[in-house]
Symmetry: C2
Subunit: 442 residues, 2 copies
């Protein structure tokens, strides 16, 4: 197994109907009036970050580039769209493949309000069809990675297990595991993410296994622990809070001895219990037994446990729901037609016309200062002694995904570097402004 985004064993089904109907009716109208073949440029950006967030994390690019070649209309897809489309449009779709160019921010890159994280160029017809699929993937994965990165910061180096699958759509869950790993989580409970993306797997036992060892004579926690250790070895983590935590820990060490790998606490005041259980374990000689805590943790709860003897955090609901921001709110906007910048003027929904390039400027120490977007055909702004990072990298050329794009592990490393580059306020959990400003030139 590898972490290469394109290496997964799900059947390569068509992605063409993961699309809003209006993209196809627009196509029909554009083919009819001759505007379909105009050269266009679309950009993806977020108008704002979720309230109080200081940065966003780009995620999903690998999944998008995997879905793109499968955006083809076979006969089953054509049968659906021919219900509302004219024959000319259906014929055009039969031969459709995207043949344009895409540049984008790499996975794991930071973004800020207005950052054009994806630039899609080609004819109107070929670009307009990709709107929904592109946004679905980037909005979902970026929302999860952006929340996950804050949790990883709050955990300050401790192990993080993503265990939120049960609180998310079953396929969204797989993408959540991937995004969490990108953001620095250590492992996932989700086996499909293990298969598809090579994310390390984790998990040992639930309350059900302890409750299963219940007879007419009553509960038998020791029997459950013996069964688990026999199957999974002394390195396993025993769940000690089914009945009484102090009794559970005592039973765990009585059964396993002081070499037990870990205990998990999933309820109660986790800080209080972590301290108490750590003392109890140490008293019992189990000084190396790890403490795993789980149960409604979010970035704030994780941060609040920083002074406690917690070794591993298990995070579920807050991760897969983006900790209050389940979608990144990115939009896919037409910015240029045949070289002419275009922009709508609806109130509060302005977009900035023209294809753009973006540089992020950093001090020689590495600290980011600002992001500057400027017309792609204009000279780059002066750096003024700062170091410039070109953020939009070629991803698709002539419809083909370019070779050598970052793997998931490389994206994970990139994000870790980028977080270090933020001004120190940028990593604060409290509400604030974007960590660096974005300036639009020209």
């Amino acid at each position: 197994m590898t972490n290469n985004a394109s290496d997964w064993s799900q059947p390569k089904t068509s992605t063409a109907l993961l699309t809003d109907q209006y993209e196809l009716t627009m196509l029909s109208a554009a083919l009819g009036d001759g505007s379909a073949h105009r050269r266009c440029s679309f950009e993806v950006f977020a108008r704002r970050l979720p309230a109080g967030r200081r940065y966003g994390v780009v995620a999903g690019v690998g999944r998008l580039l995997d879905a793109l070649p499968r955006f083809r209309f076979g006969e089953p897809e054509l049968a659906v769209v021919s219900e509302f489309l004219d024959e000319r449009t259906v014929d055009w779709l039969r031969d459709y493949r995207f043949s344009g160019d895409i540049d984008g921010y790499r996975e794991g890159e930071l973004y800020f309000p207005g950052s054009p994280i994806l630039s899609v160029r080609g004819t109107f017809a070929e670009c307009v069809l990709l709107e929904t699929l592109t946004l679905s993937i980037l909005n979902h994965d970026s929302a999860i990675a952006s929340a996950a990165a804050r949790m990883v910061s709050a955990a300050a180096g401790r192990r993080m297990i993503e265990m939120g699958s049960r609180r998310a759509h079953e396929e969204s869950a797989v993408a959540c595991s991937r995004a969490a790993y990108l953001a620095g989580f250590t492992a996932t409970s989700n086996l499909e993410a293990v298969r598809r993306y090579g994310v390390p797997g984790a998990g040992t036992s639930a309350h059900a296994f302890t409750l299963l060892h219940n007879t007419v004579a009553g509960p038998d926690e020791a029997a459950a622990f013996r069964g688990q250790i026999a199957a999974l070895g002394l390195g396993t983590t025993l769940l000690v809070d089914t009945y009484d935590i102090t009794e559970g820990v005592k039973t765990a060490i009585a059964v396993a001895g002081p070499e037990l790998g870990g205990v998990r606490i999933d309820s109660g005041d986790l800080g209080v219990w972590a301290r108490q259980v750590r003392a109890q374990l140490d008293d019992l000689g189990a000084t190396k037994t790890k403490i795993v805590v789980s149960g409604d943790l979010d970035e704030y709860a994780i941060a609040a446990l920083r002074a406690e003897p917690v070794d591993t955090y298990g995070v579920g609901t807050a991760l897969v729901t983006g900790s209050g921001a389940p979608t990144a709110g990115m939009v896919y906007k037409l910015v240029e037609v045949e070289g002419i910048p275009v922009a709508k003027r609806s109130s509060h929904k302005e977009s900035r016309g023209g294809t753009k390039r973006v540089l992020r400027f950093a001090r020689p120490t590495g600290t980011a200062v600002e992001e500057v977007a400027f017309p792609a055909d204009a000279p780059a702004p002066e750096s003024g002694g700062l170091i410039a990072h070109d953020l939009l990298v070629p991803m698709v050329r002539g419809g083909e995904v370019v070779a050598g794009l970052p793997t998931l592990d490389e994206g994970r490393d990139l994000l870790a570097q980028r977080l270090v580059s933020l001004p120190w306020e940028g990593l604060k959990l409290s509400h604030g402004d974007p960590a660096i400003p974005t300036r639009f030139v020209g």
Copy 2:
């Protein structure tokens, strides 16, 4: 196309890895110590509703029953789990199919805190494996349907188009469309939901199409409208807010004449604009032209527009994010082992042991009064002159999905009936208690 949940053309891939690793390690331990074959009963319930909500809507049952027969381990799935499982467990999984019984609340049924909406019975081994998949589907779809139902109530009979796909994971989006339709939405923008579930499709045009008709001479909204009408006919809906709404409406009627199907407003103060545009349309003789509004609508914004001349609401982000509650928070708990009720005693996470049945009592007028859960082997509580509805209906027997379960359309009808049965406070949008209490007996 039909609305039958099992009629969709996606390849029938294995769902077995949409699972948390710990279910498989528990299986291994239980096979090892002989507890795997104990007769068990698991129940799915929500400990609480999202803050202030008065009811929840059960959704996803059809999807779950479609996924269940595909919960099989083929060689690709076995290769993944053999990385961490012993050979005996892998061999057991090779032959796995669920052979137990499932009863559940029907899709479209209401639920309240504690309602055991699904009862899964069989050996520990066969039931424990289904936890994650079951919860993923029910938690996601019920969260969306529960939010959608409130929006439909707020819309008071007006047309509702679900258009949130771009704000959700691409597969979650399809399930969101399905859940919204279950809850009473009229149509969806999502073409895969049209294909898979027979939800009516909708959609005409975005700002990009208007902006596309931009030349060196400047914008040409009239050309865009002409192109759209030529392709889609006079019944189409023109998007009039790309530049100036009043000008847009004027141009729309100039191009289309008073028989134009509709205009859409996607920005600005929707109530003010709806009134102004209605007056303008009427002045222009376009008295039957409908007004569609969209743009960050949630149930409260929809309700606030009740007095305005809006014909159709388009709802996106708030729908697919469950309007602040993106997951239903249901759990899957072991409640009985070999006839013995079991329950954990962790603080604040108590569960109620024993397999249950549930009756909902209603007055002869149809108004629901309370839900009563009681031991499945005990006699039903006295009705006291009320009408009793048995809520847990047989869904799977001996591993086979029973015939004749409600279709998506039947679930939609059921929910519409059930909402009428709530005490009137139950339909209020404001925060409050569950509409009816749930009582646990015995």
